[in-house]
Symmetry: D2
Subunit: 146 residues, 4 copies
């Protein structure tokens, strides 16, 4: 891992089935639903890294969204299977960055490309905090720390 | 107030504008959206009673849904104005019951008729609890207690 | 199948992972989220019956919720796995009834017991309609019709 | 209006009361809820411009989100009043751009700053389209066209 905290990207895949409640009157998936699927992708990317998000909260931290950038390229529909690929782009003591790509499972059409920045917050005080070294190391895949 | 906790119904009205996110691919409002509007109706009915829900939580209690019965009679659409009428049907030390009627503001069409039962829970332990007499009295409109 | 349309219940199981977006400030799953999972259960129960809901819509019908009855018994939390059991209780030409039971996958705790009634609607006109015999037969599992 | 379609910004204010369903287990508003409020802000900004979104759809077009950029600066909580300021940044025949600022009504704390790009789509074919001159003119406030 570089000193800047950048990581070689390991994307983790999760598949979701589009729910009727996630569509809107345009007949396609509502744009906010993709944001929720990205969160699901983060959950699975963290679990695959060996540090589930529940373990981060159990240690007294929240990881809070600070910046979201989403490009919408095509639309999914009810009952489609959508593959959510999510991975850590950077892990720093005060900031975590994820990247995402969402595709239709069947045809491979790219639906969304996105990036999100998150800050670490102390669960008790709500103030910005630093992740301890062992959690940072776990997120970075057990390698040498930046 | 009768000993059984039944109340003469005072319905409180709240108006919501249908959001695109609340519709689905049938072109109408998704059925779960009405459930969220009913919750909004409860919030305003409690505020009008003089005991906002935030004050109940501040005193150490959660009021938790235990039973929901909803009849769907007609559908609202994007940008419709919907009038949510909500009122307390019964207030007991361990249980609160609400009634609802949702209508289209313009034509008066009844969309939903519903009833919900809630239990009182201790916020710290998560266990069933009793509302103290002063909160019960406030919910019952300051009159004699059942 | 009896003349009244009642069916021996064949419950179909679907597992959902609780999303952060599905929780609320009480720290548990928001009550409207279970309603959405029930819909997911219906989707999978229909698919297992051999007649996916998309095929019903492709034939020109919507199946629309008319009555919902939900008992909330316990709460799920973020990242829990929830098993949604859904099955057809009755299939009539103008009405379909589902039953549900939602449990925590790990401990088996029952979270929700529910029942929903649905009417059949013509997709073009929005008016109540009858399902044609072949669709009714498919929903009833290919047996003799009621 | 300049040839590039940029507009002097006229921000339109809408106030929303935070619903319990919009919070999450961190005790604050879930990040996807702000996205839905931004959509509500667009609806009111278009209505204030004299061209409600329903009128755009009635003319055969969808205005579809293509890019979303959101900065999260602070968190709202259940029952807070949030002021959503939304305005058109640019109106072009094939693209519409909005800007947003969301604040707590009481203290004025800025919660979110955001920008969204939208493309115009033919409602029947789903293909990119151009808004006709009269709709463009209405969006631009009735002034000379770019």
């Amino acid at each position: 891992v570089s000193a800047a905290g950048a990581l070689p990207e390991r994307m983790v895949e999760t598949t979701v089935r589009v729910r009727y409640a996630e569509t809107d009157a345009m007949g396609v998936v509502h744009h906010a639903s993709y944001i929720v699927w990205m969160e699901l992708g983060r959950t699975e990317a963290l679990r695959a890294s060996g540090l589930p998000y529940t373990a981060i909260e159990a240690r007294g931290f929240f990881v809070v969204l600070s910046h979201l950038d989403v490009r919408y390229l095509a639309s999914a529909r009810y009952d489609d299977l959508v593959v959510v690929r999510a991975g850590l782009e950077a892990v720093r003591s005060r900031q975590v960055v994820f990247r995402y790509e969402l595709r239709l499972a069947e045809r491979g059409t790219v639906l969304v490309e996105a990036r999100s920045e998150h800050i670490v917050v102390d669960r008790a005080t709500g103030r910005p905090a630093r992740l301890p070294e062992d959690l940072l190391g776990a997120l970075r895949g057990g390698g040498a720390h930046g």
